[in-house]
């Protein structure tokens, strides 16, 4: 991808350079599966409980199991303290996360059961939902839930006219020119898209480029996830 003349990212990264990623599996001993995933200063942790019997009973689905995700930011994960409890934003992200993960799970094997995935953001510097999905996918694999594939999530940004990979907070607040467009995308290593959101202003040609960028970034993330899972088996 080409970099436009005179464009510099606030933290000096190359346009297709991700922040330093870290992943670790098995961080919550109580859980059936758990993981941490970070993009630079953005840290997400996730834990999986289940498959276990769905309560209340009337929510049981005899056809297939239910994936139930809850995303929540800790009160001190951002500058202005967040009041504890669910918000409209966190409820939406929870649902989006379910949709991003369910296609890869062999959930039909668990009729009347529920798989709970709890995601908490410890420290936020944008792309929290992507970090959360990456941690959640790892935690599901760690829990031994049968999965067709992995998913990897990344946020592509358009700052003025320039596309960049893995948006941080300064970039999310970009105001010059056309401003910032934020495009979180989740996909499998084979390029199947399970989650796509967009806020901002973009042409379809640019969006296609953005998706291509996401595909490359997802591969990098996948390698980090794979490595973390392999390391957990060594112990």
């Amino acid at each position: 991808m080409t970099k436009q003349k005179g464009f510099e990212r606030p933290d000096g990264r190359k346009v297709d350079e991700m922040r330093k990623m870290e992943a670790k599996v098995g961080i919550v001993p109580n859980a059936d599966g758990s993981a941490m995933f970070s993009f630079g200063d953005t840290i997400a942790i996730a834990a999986v409980y289940g498959p276990r019997k769905m309560h209340p009973q009337h929510q049981q689905d005899p056809e297939k199991g239910t994936l139930r995700c809850t995303y929540s930011m800790l009160s001190f994960s951002v500058s202005d303290r967040i009041k504890p409890g669910p918000s409209r934003r966190s409820m939406e992200i929870s649902k989006i996360t379910e949709w991003a993960l369910e296609p890869i799970l062999m959930i039909k094997r668990y009729p009347n059961m529920v798989i709970d995935v709890h995601i908490n953001i410890l420290q936020a510097n944008a792309s929290t939902r992507c970090a959360g999905i990456n941690a959640a996918a790892l935690a599901l694999a760690h829990a031994g839930i049968p999965m067709r594939e992995m998913v990897s999530s990344v946020s592509i940004g358009k700052l003025d006219k320039q596309l960049v990979v893995d948006v941080n907070k300064d970039e999310e607040d970009w105001e010059e020119g056309e401003g910032a467009t934020d495009i979180p995308i989740t996909m499998t290593p084979n390029g199947m898209i399970t989650h796509l959101q967009l806020d901002g202003k973009i042409t379809s040609k640019e969006l296609k480029e953005a998706i291509e960028l996401a595909r490359k970034a997802a591969k990098e993330i996948y390698e980090v996830q794979k490595k973390a899972l392999k390391e957990s088996l060594k112990e």
């Binding site: 919550v28 001993p29 109580n30 276990r52 809850t70 009160s75 001190f76 420290q123």
Partner: protein, 266 residues
């Protein structure tokens, strides 16, 4: 999900011989480790591990109006959330009693020990004071969240760097932490919770032991033995002799715990 009756039976049998499943004596704490800077968006934060139990605490500060009954004093708010992530027993939703109790026990240990000098957190009497928010989150519950949270709250407060306050604009600038610390007393409050199981007094229970516990009592005190908060929990009764035993035992244990955590807090 509770501890099976057979396990409970075995815990009691062991304790009758002064033994515990993990090889500890009744008065032993598990290994303690403390880490700082869990979240760089918090003004201060700490992670405490007590065996397999893990809690994190973050401090946020803000500027608000003082309460009418304390116009020259800063505000304190302690909340606790038992994250569903940390145990199959916890569910999402509004805080239930165990979370409220956890927050309140830590609140009172900090507040009543006068650990924070609230008068120094006054900006303009009757109008503007600093508010200190202590938020507690469980990451893995293997018993005794209260004592772990108490230690984490103290560590996080000690490591807090106050944000800048722009008095003209009336705004807190979070991106510019100052070198100013929260004014704290020299002696730290430590919470120790003693449990009674079948006539034996133990401290730092695992989750299984907590399930078997008949009565508990949480004591907040400084290492030199000045008690400033106390609360008996659970419905079973304690004899005067048992309370005496708990007071003597926890005094010794508190000193040991202090020695264990002192090196982390420098």
């Amino acid at each position: 999900m509770e501890t099976p009756r057979l396990t409970a039976e075995r815990i009691r049998e062991y304790l009758a011989q002064g033994k515990r499943f993990d090889g500890r004596k009744p008065e032993d704490f598990r290994e303690i480790s403390i880490e700082g800077n869990v979240s760089n968006k918090a003004e201060g934060s700490a992670r405490v591990r007590l065996g397999k139990t893990e809690v994190i605490v973050g401090i946020k500060m803000g500027v608000a109006e003082p309460y009418p009954d304390s116009p020259n004093k800063g505000n304190l708010m302690v909340t606790a959330e038992l994250l569903p992530l940390s145990s199959p027993r916890f569910e999402s939703g509004p805080p239930r009693f165990p979370a409220v109790e956890l927050g309140r026990l830590v609140d009172r240990a900090i507040r009543e020990s006068k650990f924070i000098d609230f008068e120094k957190l006054c900006i303009k009497e009757g109008e503007k004071v600093w508010s200190v928010f202590i938020d507690i989150y469980s990451i893995n519950d293997d018993g005794n969240l209260v004592d772990a949270a108490g230690i984490a709250a103290v560590a996080a407060l000690k490591w807090t760097k106050m944000p800048k306050y722009d008095e003209k604009e009336g705004k807190v600038i979070y991106d510019e932490p100052t070198d100013k610390k929260i004014p704290l007393a020299k002696d730290i409050p430590i919470c120790i919770t003693a449990h009674k199981i079948d006539g034996t007094i133990i401290v730092d229970p695992t989750l299984e032991e907590e399930d078997v516990s008949e009565a508990k009592i949480t004591i907040g005190a400084t290492p030199d033995g000045v008690i400033s908060s106390m609360q008996k929990g659970s419905p079973a009764e304690l004899s005067i002799e048992e309370v005496h035993e708990i007071l003597d035992l926890t005094e010794k244990i508190r000193k040991k715990v202090f020695l264990k955590i002192e090196k982390f807090l420098e």
